[in-house]
């Protein structure tokens, strides 16, 4: 039982927090700009590497530089939108999807160009996990990550439910033309969407880097699980994305638990395949997700 909690459930929740932060951005962007942002994973990579530079310069721990990495990534995302996505918004959305593929590779190659290809990490040396109640082992960084994710999600909730901009954002996601005639500024909301989406992506990237290491493809590998989480929660529903992220994260980790016999149910090397499989199955049988999000046709 303890082995289950220590080695499967807790890593699942940690991974789930990372997916959640990514999926909220994908879900908001899909809801407001109406396209699947394929560069979202690479925005996570960018955030993680920007944080690495802050860590090196300041000497602070990675968790402390998260706000700076979020701000920098958000600024870059607004710039990318201005130069690459905005000129295409008049045409068919599918063209923006194709453009976002290109942006994904441009971000990744820029990261690899500026920061190099060697695997990096924020902290060196072995960190001993903290032990609670004699047997519950939790790594310190995992606590920071989960608490960090909860704080960010709580802030997002306050933003979406209490501020004028947040309400306008939800209105635009629900019904863009109705929002427009009530005086919601299209450009301003889109900019805010990018700030929030990219900011949360950066945080997810830093957390992923804290949990494992930094590589050029770390974000791309997360893209499909994040899409899976966003679809599971229902596109355009940021709150659904939280549940979706947690379900996908936990499902991935639990898939290699020895449920039926002594052997893992699924070889750990296929762990990432679980998210892909859930995503494909959802797309086919329940494209609206578990919480009846919208389906764009």
């Amino acid at each position: 039982m303890l082995e289950f909690v220590n080695f499967y459930l807790i890593p699942g929740l940690v991974l789930g927090s990372i997916y959640t932060l990514g999926a909220i951005g994908v879900s908001l962007l899909f809801g407001i700009l109406r396209f699947a942002h394929f560069a979202h994973g690479d925005m996570m990579t960018l955030g993680a590497y920007i944080a690495l530079s802050f860590v090196i310069v300041s000497g602070w721990p990675a968790i402390a530089v998260v706000p700076f990495a979020m701000a920098a990534t958000a600024a870059i995302a607004v710039g990318i939108d201005h130069f690459f996505y905005r000129p295409l918004r008049k045409g068919r959305t599918i063209v923006i999807v194709i453009a976002s593929f290109g942006i994904a590779l441009m971000i990744r190659s820029a990261v690899q160009f500026f920061w190099g290809v060697q695997i990096e990490s924020y902290q060196t040396g072995i960190q001993r996990p903290l032990i609670f109640f004699d047997s519950l082992r939790i790594a310190e960084r995992h606590i920071y990550m989960v608490v960090g994710a909860i704080v960010l999600v709580a802030m997002l909730h306050l933003f979406l439910s209490r501020t004028r901009t947040g309400k306008a954002m939800r209105a635009m996601s629900d019904n863009p033309s109705l929002a427009a005639i009530t005086g919601v500024s299209h450009t301003q909301i889109i900019a805010w969407t990018w700030v929030i989406g990219a900011g949360l992506a950066a945080a997810a990237g830093v957390f992923l880097g804290m949990d494992t290491q930094l590589t050029g493809t770390m974000g791309w590998n997360l893209l499909l699980p994040v899409f899976a989480a966003a679809i599971l929660g229902g596109i355009g529903k940021p709150y659904g994305a939280i549940a979706g992220g947690m379900v996908i994260g936990v499902a991935e980790e639990l898939s290699s638990y020895p449920w039926l016999s002594d052997a893992p149910l699924l070889a750990p090397s296929y762990k990432t395949g679980v998210a892909f499989a859930i995503m494909v199955a959802l797309l086919i049988w329940r494209p609206a997700g578990l919480f009846s999000g919208r389906v764009f046709r």
Binding site: A36, L105, S109, L224, T272, L283, I284, P287
Partner: protein
């Protein structure tokens, strides 16, 4: 002939060979995206099925993986198309109902699952060490002739695929496909079985991609899971088709050759600047990423400025009476 001229010629041969193989992949995507509007973002998956099936069937026997069966190369190529077609049928049956972005996600997901299988099932594919000793057509000939002969094989296949697709595109079949692409509701309203026709296009295009994958495996004499990374297959092929002009077969071939030339000459250029001492040696690995960035930028410029590509699709002239009878064309909607 001087050595440098000879070297240049051999470089051109190698360039055209690879460009030709990419042209096959690009023509396959043109069937799916250019004519039918199916957003297949899992080109790497069908490429991999073609490459691995032909490789396993034609390689000499080895204990490292299943087979090889030492069969003739044409059998391998035919099997590559057959297996890609079967997988495409299965994928298409369940995924083609999806809207384009969702179809893109589903096809990437399937391609990535496939890549995990190729990487992990070592008994079948020799895992990450890949399959080596794959035969190449005419490799028994002496040095320059062998390259020329293989180039000829590639060009004949490109021509064959081109003629086939061109005939299809100008037949009623092609017109139905374009009708589905432009307005699937209207197409089904006039009694076309949209789902069935989309499936045909998806399977046909994927078979061509499988053929391209098999040619790549024979060209390199080696195939490993690295070769099925989304970058070098899926993304490059998309850039090629969009730059060349989607919906135009000549554009697909031209795009493949132009983008491949840019892609590979930037490598030569970066290596040359290093050997001339213009940039530090340390940039050698970094330079590769600059190339990817450049190709990404080319795509953005094409999408923004030359959305129709080098050779735009030619729309069929409607005769005066038909035009008068037809309702006025609606401006393209925002979706």
């Amino acid at each position: 002939m001087s050595d440098s001229l000879f070297g240049l010629m051999m470089y051109a041969v190698a360039l055209l060979t690879m460009g030709g193989i990419y042209a096959v992949l690009c023509l396959g995507l043109n069937i799916q995206w250019g004519f039918t509007g199916l957003f297949n973002a899992g080109i790497a998956g069908f490429f991999a099925i073609g490459a691995y099936s032909s490789a396993l069937l034609t390689a000499p026997p080895t204990p490292n993986h299943v087979g090889g069966f030492d069969l003739p190369i044409p059998v391998g190529l035919a099997a590559a198309m057959l297996f890609s077609g079967i997988v495409a049928y299965a994928v298409g049956r369940i995924c083609l109902r999806l809207r384009s972005d969702y179809l893109a996600m589903a096809t990437i997901g399937i391609a990535e699952i496939l890549r995990l299988i190729l990487k992990n099932e070592a008994w079948l594919t020799n895992g990450s060490r890949g399959i080596s000793n794959i035969p190449r057509p005419f490799e028994g000939l002496p040095a320059p002739q062998a390259q020329f002969a293989f180039l000829a094989v590639v060009l004949v296949i490109v021509l064959f695929v081109y003629v086939l697709i061109q005939r299809g595109a100008h037949a009623p079949w092609g017109r139905v496909m374009r009708a589905i692409r432009d307005d699937d509701i209207a197409a089904s309203a006039v009694g076309k079985d949209v789902e069935q026709l989309r499936l045909q296009s998806f399977v046909f295009g994927s078979m061509v991609m499988g053929l391209g994958g098999a040619l790549m495996a024979h060209s390199f004499k080696f195939i490993g899971p690295e070769a099925t990374e989304p970058l070098l297959t899926t993304f490059l092929v998309w850039v090629m088709l969009i730059a060349g002009g989607s919906g135009n077969n000549r554009g697909a071939v031209l795009g493949a050759i132009v983008i491949w030339t840019i892609w590979s000459s930037t490598e030569v250029f970066i290596n040359a600047t290093i050997s001339w001492g213009w940039v530090p040696q340390a940039w050698a690995t970094q330079g590769a990423f600059l190339r990817v960035f450049l190709i990404g930028l080319v795509l953005q410029i094409v999408l923004q400025r030359y959305a129709k590509g080098l050779l735009p699709e030619r729309t069929v002239e409607i005769s005066g009476r038909a035009r008068a009878a037809a309702p006025r064309a609606q401006p393209e909607s925002a979706d």
